[in-house]
């Protein structure tokens, strides 16, 4: 799995390309924590190239959400792929994390 981030006008976009699973989940946590420590507390995780997510991956996303909130910001997700979407629905996490179509839209109205 490959991570990258880019600071935009009002948020930082994190890209997580590959399979978000037991092996890569801790790395996502670490990566996002670093981005927050770097001063961005409004994070969009762009999942357009995340083909798969398991329970550890989901746990990491929520963990990152907590970290962003603790830093006074928020974490949103965008461009969710079918399997990830199914996992979010199945676990009711879609009520916590709204899936935006694109990263630009995620903080579009605030």
């Amino acid at each position: 799995m490959e991570f990258s981030y880019e600071v935009k006008d009002s948020y930082a976009e994190v890209k997580a390309d590959g399979r978000l699973n037991m092996v890569s989940a801790p790395k996502l946590r670490e990566f996002v924590t670093d981005v927050i420590a770097g001063g961005s507390n409004r994070i969009v995780v762009n999942l357009e190239n995340t083909a798969f997510m398991d329970s550890s991956g989901l746990g990491a996303l929520i963990g990152c959400l907590k970290a962003a909130r603790q830093a006074g910001g928020d974490l949103r997700i965008a461009a969710v792929q079918p399997q990830v979407n199914m996992v979010l629905k199945l676990t009711s996490m879609d009520k916590v994390l709204t899936a935006y179509t694109t990263a630009e839209e995620a903080f579009g109205n605030d």
């Binding site: 037991m22 398991d54 746990g59 929520i62 963990g63 909130r69 009520k95």
Partner: protein, 652 residues
């Protein structure tokens, strides 16, 4: 009486042969030229073993008097296998098969899945079978063996008559053969393959009168007549037994392989620095404990289905614990977020992940264990479903491109008997051009060598010594390409360089060699009872590049998993006359032989060579060239013309 004479000549051949070869090894080798002396004596030893195996074959020649009355209620499926053959030809064969007198169902097994052929079958009331949905793209298809295995699952006749698409059966083919199955141990009746589009001169050596004659009759005497892919009747029960035994054996093998691999996979997963969660370590511990226990259970002979099921249950439970832990952590995070009151986390408080969601997240396709690919692969392989094959039960052997021989050998190893019925009951079509013929011979040779390397008959449990040697004899003949090269090289080396591989061409040589050669030829004459064997002898030498290529490609395939097809016969020019390029190695060798003869005679004339050595080697060269000459006729052959005289079985 013929049997007596045959055996007498066999004994004489063995005695004169051993006498000659023992002398060759012990007192004739020219050690100064060991680099040709040793290969030549090895080639001669190869040939002697070949002749002795032939002698052993005809020793027990079985001439059957015909089958007893067949059981009238025996049910038969006639299978016509096709892939891309001309539809007219397939239909002609199928309609002839329909007219076979004994009650039966006729099926066309169309591996090409051609809608036109399906329509023709419906029109003529023929059964039509294509591969079932189980044969998905990612699974091996196993060519003709796969086609037959697929059809076996959707038909139910007690006996199966297998016909290639070009083999037009006689109406009495079943009446003449089914009676052999009154013996409950008989699993196979093979009849000859004979080709109706071959002129008397048989330029491509298509007819195999020695094989579909004394050789199969001799093997029959040892209960080792084998299946040749077409014109044969098989007992379904025997095939199914073969498939089931094979299934159990393969399953146990793959489970043992998976268990053996599990330790390394788990060790590797533990070492990987990516995972430091204690929960993951616990899952790995559990997987290790489960596979270790499974190993003990398999060793104790417990049913594989239960062992693998228990492993799966244990691993599933461990994975579920892991998912539950992930979910619990996630839920705790959500509670914390809610407690911070920094933002609302949904309209109705913290959402709770339901149990069925945990179940779903624990299933194989979404399991966190999937991240540990090697561990997951081991667990996937711990199954009795034989997931690597389209169907768990594969009655026809799939270890070789010549599934027929491999299948027959396994049947014999399980104690079944076979029959060779020496009467032409189907008429086929042989290749009419050299290129197709060469490709076909290459495949046969490759298949035979594959069987030799994968299931060497000499060490197969269940086969009797005679059967082992009979199968081995056929495989041995396909090694002739290497000997041929030496037989071509030796006279060239003498005539060009004056180097003789034997210490002297003296009385000692001729007194031992000539009786052996004479008795050897006599053996073929007596055993063959006047059938033409010369064409076969020519091709066994002249096609040496094909035989060598078959051995090397089959070895690469079996040992290194390389595909067989990467070395197909070079493409002939489709138009524009004869394709000499197909026999380039033979042309080179022939030119060398001719040049060597001329040089040898010049050396003799100038006193550089001795007369006797030159004479013997020039005769040898002439013999080699006469052998090779068949290839000229083969290249120039323009195909069968029905207007010409019909094929007969006379010497040409």
């Amino acid at each position: 009486m013929t049997r007596f004479w045959t055996r007498l000549v066999v004994v004489l051949t063995v005695l004169t042969g051993l006498n000659y070869i023992a002398w060759r090894w012990m007192s004739s080798l020219n050690w100064d030229a060991w680099w040709i002396a040793l290969p030549l004596v090895a080639a001669e030893t190869y040939s002697l073993i070949d002749v002795m195996l032939f002698g052993m074959t005809v020793w027990n020649l079985k001439i059957r008097k015909g089958a007893p009355e067949p059981p009238h209620d025996a049910t038969v499926d006639v299978f016509i296998t096709t892939y891309n053959e001309d539809l007219d030809m397939v239909l002609t064969t199928a309609l002839a098969a329909q007219k076979i007198r004994h009650p039966h169902s006729t099926w066309i097994l169309d591996d090409g899945a051609r809608p036109e052929l399906k329509a023709l079958c419906e029109q003529h009331g023929l059964g039509y079978v294509t591969r079932s949905e189980d044969w998905t793209k990612d699974l091996p298809r196993h060519a003709k063996a796969g086609n037959l295995n697929n059809a076996l699952m959707v038909t139910d006749g007690e006996f199966l008559l297998i016909l290639d698409a070009d083999q037009i059966p006689e109406p009495d083919i079943l009446e003449k053969t089914l009676g052999y199955f009154n013996n409950r141990r008989v699993a196979l009746v093979q009849t000859p393959q004979y080709f109706s589009n071959v002129p008397a001169s048989d330029p491509l050596g298509s007819q195999a009168p020695l094989f579909y004659g004394p050789i199969q009759q001799g093997k029959d005497g040892w209960n080792a007549a084998f299946f040749c892919g077409s014109n044969a009747i098989l007992r379904r029960e025997a095939l199914m037994q073969l498939g089931l035994v094979g299934y159990v054996k393969e399953t146990e093998k793959s489970i043992r392989r998976a268990l053996a691999a599990s330790r390394a996979a788990i060790r590797q997963a533990r070492k990987s620095t990516d995972i430091d969660s204690p929960l993951v370590a616990e899952v790995l511990d559990e997987v290790e404990a489960a596979t270790r226990e499974a190993q003990q259970e398999v060793d104790a002979g417990q049913p594989l289905a239960e062992v693998t099921y228990r492993v799966r249950r244990r691993v599933d439970a461990a994975v579920q614990t892991l998912v539950q832990a992930d979910v619990a952590a996630l839920q705790a995070d959500l509670e914390e977020i809610a407690a911070m009151e920094l933002a609302h986390v949904g309209e109705s408080g913290v959402p709770v992940v339901a149990d069925d969601a945990v179940q779903r997240m624990s299933a194989r396709d979404w399991s966190p264990l999937g991240a540990l690919e090697s561990v997951q692969a081991v667990l996937d392989a711990l199954t009795v479903e034989r997931t690597g094959e389209a169907q768990p039960v594969m009655p026809l052997a799939t270890i070789s491109v010549t599934e027929d021989m491999a299948t027959a050998m396994r049947m014999h190893a399980m104690g079944w008997e076979s029959v060779y019925h020496h009467e032409i009951l189907a008429y086929g079509l042989a290749p009419e051009d050299l290129k197709t013929m060469l490709t076909q011979r290459l495949r046969w040779a490759q298949g035979t060598i594959q069987v030799l390397l994968r299931e060497n008959p000499l060490v197969q449990k269940g086969l009797k010594l005679g059967q082992r040697l009979m199968y081995f004899a056929t495989m041995w003949t396909y090694l002739s390409g290497f000997a041929a090269v030496i037989y071509f090289a030796a006279p060239i080396i003498y005539l060009l360089l004056g180097i003789l591989p034997v210490s002297s061409l003296s009385w000692d040589f001729f007194i031992r060699f000539i009786p052996f050669m004479v008795v050897n030829q006599l053996l073929f004459a007596v055993a063959g009872r006047g059938i033409p064997t010369w064409r076969g002898q020519q091709y066994s030498l002249a096609l040496f590049p094909t035989w060598i290529k078959a051995c090397t490609t089959a070895a690469r395939n079996v040992w290194f998993g390389r595909p067989l097809g990467f070395a197909v016969t070079p493409k002939a020019r489709q138009t524009g006359g004869p394709s000499w390029s197909l026999i380039r190695p033979q042309i080179v060798v022939s030119v060398l032989l001719a040049v060597a003869a001329v040089v040898g005679i010049i050396r003799l004339a100038t006193g550089l060579a001795e007369p006797l050595g030159t004479l013997v080697n020039v005769i040898w060269v002439v013999f080699d060239l006469v052998v090779m000459s068949i290839l000229v006729r083969a290249v120039l052959y323009k195909g069968y013309e029905p207007a010409a005289e019909p094929a007969t079985r006379e010497e040409s």
